[in-house]
């Protein structure tokens, strides 16, 4: 399978999957949008209304964080089970195993794209006008995509060897939600912990989006570079693992 054949297969599978999902559910695409809005409402109610921790910009602040987080979480968790769940197919055809997580990432990225566009429209209508800082958005998204691919490849590659990883990763993501700067800004973290806190790449990613979308400011390039480096490292590790076990996965998952 050459690169063109690989790309065609990925594109077709992602397209077919999105189309079938859109036709299967009555509200289809609407759910992709409703999901982050519902999550935002719940957290807004808890932290903004009941605990009075919000502030005037709390709703857009939350929504931005949740949308960015969901792109990462969905792609990573869907990607994780993708090789593990295709034991049957890979015992019939020699498929490059990286195909499976790549398809999942493409599908979730398209969904994110739609949700993100609607987020922009919502922000504009709330008075957060586009600014020159928007020029940095593609770079920030690319860094996030790197991180997503890294995490998804590594989890996808390891799960057939350690199926328990599923539970570990799910718990990590559930907890990660609360320490990734979705509900509060890094400035709320006590000084002595802040550097440690910002080692979480998601904190910096979400802050980068917020400074562009909500404050019209350029992101912190230094931290973004750190995130990119972490993403590249994970990506290299993930590809290495998948390549190493390319011909072992069909055996591990054959019965």
């Amino acid at each position: 399978m050459n690169t063109l054949q690989f790309t065609t297969a990925v594109a077709f599978k992602a397209y077919a999957e999105l189309r079938s999902e859109a036709s299967r559910y009555f509200l289809s695409i609407f759910w992709w949008v409703l999901d982050p809005v519902l999550s935002m409402s719940v957290y807004y109610l808890i932290f903004g209304v009941l605990m009075l921790r919000g502030g005037p910009d709390f709703a857009p602040f939350l929504l931005t964080g949740i949308v960015v987080w969901q792109w990462l979480e969905r792609s990573a968790l869907h990607g994780m089970g993708s090789i593990y769940g295709n034991g049957y197919l890979m015992n019939l055809i020699q498929v490059p195993k990286i195909y499976f997580p790549v398809v999942k990432i493409v599908v979730d990225t398209v969904k994110f794209g739609i949700v993100f566009l609607l987020l922009l429209v919502a922000l504009w209508s709330l008075g957060y006008a586009p600014s020159l800082a928007y020029l940095a958005l593609p770079a920030v998204m690319l860094v996030q995509l790197l991180l997503i691919a890294g995490v998804a490849f590594l989890l996808a590659g390891l799960m057939p060897l350690l199926p328990d990883l599923k539970y570990l990763a799910e718990v990590t993501f559930r907890l990660g939600f609360f320490v990734s700067g979705i509900l509060f800004p890094p400035s709320r973290v006590p000084d002595q912990y802040r550097d440690l806190y910002q080692l979480n790449p998601v904190v910096n990613l979400i802050e980068a989006y917020r400074s562009i979308l909500l404050r019209g400011e350029w992101p912190d390039w230094g931290w973004l570079l750190v995130v990119a480096a972490i993403g590249l490292l994970l990506l290299a590790a993930g590809r290495l693992v998948i390549a190493r076990f390319e011909y072992d996965y069909p055996r591990l998952l054959s019965r």
Binding site: E17, L89, Y99, R251
Partner: protein, 249 residues
Amino acid sequence: MQTFDHDREPILSLRNVGVTYRRPSLLGRRSSYTALADVSFDLYHGESLAVIGRNGAGKSTLLKLLAGIIRPDRGALRDRGLKAALLARQVGFDGELTGRDNIVLSALLLGFDRAEIRAQMADIIAFAELGEHIDQPLSTYSAGMRARLGFAVSARLEPDILLIDEALGVGDAGFQAKSTQLIEDRLASDRTVVLVTHSPQVVRRLCNRAVWIDNGMSRMEGEVDAVLNAYSAQYPPAVPRGGPASLAG
């Protein structure tokens, strides 16, 4: 039957190939199972090679090796990067996608390009006798419909090396006759085919050469009659009870 000039380079060759499945366990007990112990043979362009052996001889593992799905643990497998595909009952099927999408996807994964797929699409649908169901999700298909689609995809798209597992009696009597005819056509043509079976009649009728695999070892490779005689001497022909109606017929 054609004769072959074996001075040519084989397109695929196995030398002392072995495959052992190991199941790592956290409790330290590693179970292992040797599917192939020591297998050697060559495959030449244009021949119909029979791999004959009893159940459990390692035939399905051998097919996976030839299809490039797994690699041997011992020995050497040399190929020339040709497209080898399993003629399977189901190929890469995804229940949520329509039959048509599944044809395209399976074919893309098998390495065919869009033009080849477009050219074969109508034939595949007609061969599978699916009619308008082709645009329904696969999850609504009966087992027979899935089987017909799987057969049609892998039979109609022609890989360089076609790998056939004997247990192919799919569908109702009518479709079985049709699929059997198609396999026989492929075997009799000048395409490269590997047929895995335990039925000597089929081999005698349709294959140029044979390899006998026994307990994961290749016991003999050569002319069909010689290999079959040796095989029958070891396992007198009471063996094919309830054998593959599809091919023996």
